[in-house]
């Protein structure tokens, strides 16, 4: 069944515990999301918001207390759909006594990758996550970041149609972060849908085209980045070697940054007088200045939304 949405939930709720040990407050409260095909979705929210809970519900590791979800058009407990899903848990743990190759081989068997292709495919993914030299090492001796890399390797082993990553950047070194972004971008090129949560907003902003913010089990907002991050003022980039002009304009700027290459970035509020001044300068110094609409950063947006939600809760 072809569905327009990769992930869709209806009033999905989860209250941990059982019977008299049931928690009073639901960890996830009537979540309704619909993620269309072809998107990289960033799932944000403070600690304990319920992101991991949502992902585990989608992967059928835990059962909802209420509501339902579909993943690739099928209920989460459908075993066949799992062939098309890659999943990285928030704290990956693997049998410590298996070597990286043996572990991936078991995964490949479960994914029904034909035995003739298994070896090639495993070496391929190990190359992608830069772990080729550790093929034969036991997983028990791996560091946090190495485990994370193996986790990513097993998630992309089956060339999934949907990739669900729970905090994929945790434990990775700076190179690892870049490599992961490269992998995600690569997957998108192949047409993979990616659903991931992360606390590193700058990376989320760079990778995602859609985000959702979860707060205390409830969805605060969801949409494409361009919809959500409102236009806010004018951004001015000044090429290197025009320091005087930059200093002159700096007085009225909201923010001012000198970049390492000597260029400047200034952000101005929407104000006609300033805009006029900029336009005049631009004419005088054609080529040295580029003007663009400045957008709120995801970080500012995130803090603003959470702040509003906190105030609403307390009042």
């Amino acid at each position: 069944m072809q569905d327009d949405y990769v992930i869709k939930t209806e009033d999905l709720s989860k209250t941990y515990g059982w019977f008299i040990w049931k928690k009073k407050i639901p960890s996830l409260d009537k979540l309704n999301i619909a993620i269309p095909r072809g998107s990289i979705f960033g799932f944000l929210g403070p600690n304990g918001a319920g992101k991991t809970t949502t992902i585990r519900l989608l992967m059928d590791l835990i059962k909802p207390s209420e509501g339902c979800a579909t993943v690739l058009g099928m209920p989460p407990d459908d075993v066949k759909t799992k062939h098309k899903i890659g999943f990285l848990p928030d704290a990956p743990a693997f049998s410590p006594y298996l070597s990286a190759y043996e572990f991936l081989n078991i995964c490949a068997k479960l994914l029904k990758i034909p035995s003739s292709e298994r070896k090639k495919r495993i070496n391929e993914v190990l190359e992608t996550v830069k772990m080729s030299e550790h093929v034969k090492s036991k997983l028990g001796g791996f560091s946090r970041g190495m485990i994370q890399r193996i986790g990513i390797a097993q998630a992309i082993l089956n060339k999934p149609e949907l990739l669900i990553l729970d905090e994929p950047l945790v434990g990775l070194d700076p190179h690892g972060r870049l490599e992961l972004m490269e992998i995600v971008r690569d997957q998108k090129k192949r047409g993979t849908n990616v659903f991931f949560c992360s606390h590193i907003l700058a990376d989320v902003e760079r990778m995602c085209d859609r985000i959702g913010i979860l707060y205390k089990g409830k969805m605060l907002c969801i949409g494409t980045l361009s919809e959500l991050l409102s236009e806010k003022g004018t951004r001015l980039s000044i090429k290197p070697g025009h320091d005087n002009m930059a200093k002159e304009l700096m007085v009225e700027a909201l923010s001012c940054n000198k970049l390492p290459d000597g260029s400047w970035e200034l952000v101005f509020p929407e104000n006609n007088a300033i805009l006029e001044k900029i336009r005049n300068t631009k004419e005088a110094l054609a080529g040295a200045i580029t003007v663009s609409a400045s957008k709120e950063s995801l970080e500012d947006f995130f803090f603003r939304k959470i702040e509003i939600a906190k105030k609403e809760k307390s009042s």
Partner: protein, 244 residues
């Protein structure tokens, strides 16, 4: 089927990779061999003694393999090792069956090593033909792994890590004493498995020539049916369980 074998493979590899397993097997064989020296103390009964010791130790080895699984499975579930596998195209029931099969294979391999070691020692010590009854008794010990693995998996799916091994050990002990519990009709009525079915020590030691192969076949069949029943119940429970 392939999925089940993949899970089973992970299980037996783990145990057969531990060097301590081979050390323990060696200890068991030394203990069996040392029974030979009790000729005076046991008034020339050292041959039956050796057969008896070999069967007892083989049974204990099998029970230890099964108990080790009750540490293993809850740990896998708690640490999230199982969740990585369960998010692959692998049904929860298949995972459980894989665990049972893995335990059975591990137990069979270890038990077979002990039995073969014993036969070699026996032949060397007494230079006698190995009696069929002895072989059959060892085969029954190996067969007892089938229902015991199912018991281990059953308790592992819903009990916390600390309690599972204890409860499993108690359940196995009870199952070996169903004969003595025969007065308690309710228990004997089939709720507890009857592991006494697999216990032919006395027969092997005191002059039994041979037992009927059909008995052995039926005992194995009963073990398989009991396991299927228990794994079905386990999977019903497991299906609704939250996994980390």
């Amino acid at each position: 089927m392939n999925e089940i074998m993949a899970i089973a493979e992970g299980t037996w590899r783990r145990i057969l990779r531990m060097r301590v397993v081979y050390f323990l097997i060696l200890c068991v064989l030394i203990l069996i061999a040392s029974a030979y020296n009790y000729d005076v103390l046991s008034m020339q009964e050292h041959k039956p003694l050796m057969i008896d010791v070999s069967l007892v130790l083989n049974t204990i080895a099998v029970i230890l393999v099964v108990i080790s699984m009750t540490f293993e499975i809850p740990k896998e579930l708690r640490e999230g090792v199982a969740s990585t596998l369960l998010t692959k195209p692998l049904g929860r029931t298949q995972y459980l069956i894989g665990k049972v099969v893995g335990t059975i294979i591990t137990g069979l391999i270890i038990s077979a090593m002990i039995a073969v070691g014993f036969f070699v020692i026996f032949k060397f010590a007494f230079n006698e033909q190995i009696a069929l009854a002895m072989l059959q008794s060892h085969i029954l010990v190996m067969a007892s792994i089938i229902p015991m693995s199912a018991i281990a998996v059953f308790f592992s799916v819903f009990m916390p890590e600390m309690i599972t091994p204890i409860i499993t050990a108690i359940a196995i002990w009870f199952s070996y004493s169903t004969e003595k519990l025969i007065g308690v009709k309710f228990l004997y009525g089939g709720i507890l498995p009857d592991l006494g079915l697999y216990n032919f020590k006395a027969f092997a030691v005191y002059g039994g020539e041979q037992m009927s192969w059909s008995y052995i076949g039926l005992a194995i069949l009963w073990g398989i049916i009991f396991s299927i029943f228990l794994v079905t119940v386990s999977s019903l429970i497991f299906r609704f369980r939250d996994i980390k």
